[in-house]
């Protein structure tokens, strides 16, 4: 039997592999736009992990007990690890660590806007873990099946570690809510400030997210921003109720027909303002990052010099 096989273009072959759920690995052929999209997304994600250490680092020295301090330290250390997993995944696409850091420090690259909000009270440590890590988990779990192999593998590692982050945050909230009136008020006040910014973590509305369709087609993304935002609200409203807290959105109401919660409109003006660099802490966060990088320069140079010296000694001995 003779069949006339149509010759597929590299793009068509690539899409066929994606459609068959075959992972793409670093040396495989890929469209330039796929590579660029991934470098942007993975490095942004890595930057978010790195900058994300700052708002919590703010409370390490002031944690209310040694137990809380150890937990917070471990969590912040995990976030550093997440950044490192992700940077090395991005490097497999041909970019360098130096380039990515330079883009972060110059303000060219973005990171999650949530970290441009200040952490004003201890209850904020509860809200960050419970809500911010909770939202991150919803974003990240589908990424464990994303089409690019190294990214997916990094995300499996990240997701394994995230659930401790969310639980320790919830436990902080629960402890405050079961405490004195002032503690419960502190918890409510923190929730009031963090609720809306957390909803913004899922990104612009689907109708204003022109890249979503292509990313879904490439199976980089598996759910749309609005789908994930809805899931988050459905997950969190009952948890807030359990804590005896009120979500600061009068429009939140169970919709029996949709089997989901209705909720109000995010303040998109605020969202875009923070993305564009005009949030409460954009300047402070970037400055802290650049300062840490510059102050660490001598350590990087000294380690290089030490390694070269030792290698030279070993070469002579050999």
């Amino acid at each position: 039997m003779e069949t006339l096989e149509k010759v597929l273009t590299p793009e068509e072959q690539f899409q066929a592999r994606i459609d068959a759920d075959i992972r793409i690995e670093p040396k495989d052929w890929m469209p330039d736009a796929y590579r660029k999209t991934l470098i942007r997304q993975i490095s942004q994600h890595a930057h978010s992990e790195l900058v994300g250490m700052l708002p919590e680092g703010n409370w390490i020295t002031r944690a209310p007990s040694l137990k809380r301090k150890s937990i917070l330290l471990a969590k912040v250390q995990d976030e550093a690890g997440h950044g490192l997993y992700l940077y090395s995944a991005a490097e497999t696409l041909g970019t360098t660590r130096d380039q990515m850091l330079a883009d972060l420090h110059s303000g060219k690259a973005k990171y999650s806007s949530i970290f441009n909000y200040p952490t004003l009270s201890w209850a904020d440590m509860g809200c960050v873990g419970w809500l911010v890590d909770g939202a991150a988990i919803l974003n990240q779990v589908p990424l464990c099946r994303t089409s690019y192999g190294p990214y997916a593998r990094a995300m499996v590692r990240v997701c394994k570690e995230e659930s401790f982050h969310q639980r320790q945050g919830f436990e902080i909230m629960q402890t405050l809510c079961e405490g004195a009136t002032a503690q419960k008020e502190m918890a409510q006040e923190a929730l009031n400030r963090w609720w809306w910014p957390t909803l913004m973590m899922f990104g612009p509305k689907d109708s204003e997210s022109p890249n979503t369709a292509q990313s879904m087609n490439w199976r980089i993304k598996r759910f749309t921003n609005d789908e994930l935002r809805q899931k988050f609200v459905d997950m969190m409203v009952p948890q807030a109720e359990f804590l005896g807290l009120t979500v600061p959105d009068p429009a939140v109401k169970w919709n029996e027909a949709r089997q989901a919660y209705d909720f109000g409109e995010v303040n998109w003006e605020e969202f875009w303002a923070v993305v564009k660099g005009n949030g409460m802490c954009n300047h402070e966060r970037l400055q802290a990052r650049v300062q840490a990088h510059e102050a660490g320069a001598w350590v990087r140079e000294a380690a290089n010099a030490h390694a070269a010296k030792r290698a030279a000694r070993e070469a002579v001995a050999a």
């Binding site: 690995e25 040396k27 495989d28 052929w29 471990a74 250390q77 995990d78 690890g81 490192l84 997993y85 090395s88 995944a89 490097e91 360098t96 660590r97 130096d98 593998r153 990094a154 590692r157 570690e161 320069a297 990087r300 140079e301 380690a303 290089n304 010099a305 030490h306 390694a307 070269a308 010296k309 030792r310 290698a311 030279a312 070469a315």
Partner: protein, 106 residues
């Protein structure tokens, strides 16, 4: 990919440390498995960094690091020609052979 430099060189302008691939034995009796990569100035630092980055929760009992430039890989573009010779050799598998039902222990 760069090639291995014959003699160690010091380069103060280069802020980026070399890249290392990390392999971890998760428990005695299992083999080392690739887990990811990291930057370090030398092998000692690479092993220490690998401990901090990849084994914060007892994920390993042994770590190997290899400088990434020393890894040589098969070319994915040649995959078909390279691996296909194994595809038509069904007789390499025990299921290829018919064994009479009355024969036991085979």
């Amino acid at each position: 990919m760069t090639t291995k430099t014959p003699s160690p060189q010091i380069n103060m302008n280069q802020s980026e440390w070399p890249l290392w691939e990390v392999f971890i034995r998760s428990k005695q009796g299992l083999d080392h498995k690739h887990v990811g990569s990291l930057h370090a100035a030398d092998a000692t630092m690479a092993v220490q960094n690998a401990r901090d980055v990849y084994t914060r929760r007892l994920e390993g009992v042994s770590i190997w690091v290899v400088e990434s430039t020393h890894i040589h890989a098969s070319n994915p573009d040649d995959s078909e020609a390279f691996f296909d010779p194994a595809a038509d050799k069904v007789y390499r598998h025990p299921t290829f052979y018919d064994v009479p039902d009355s024969i036991k222990h085979m």
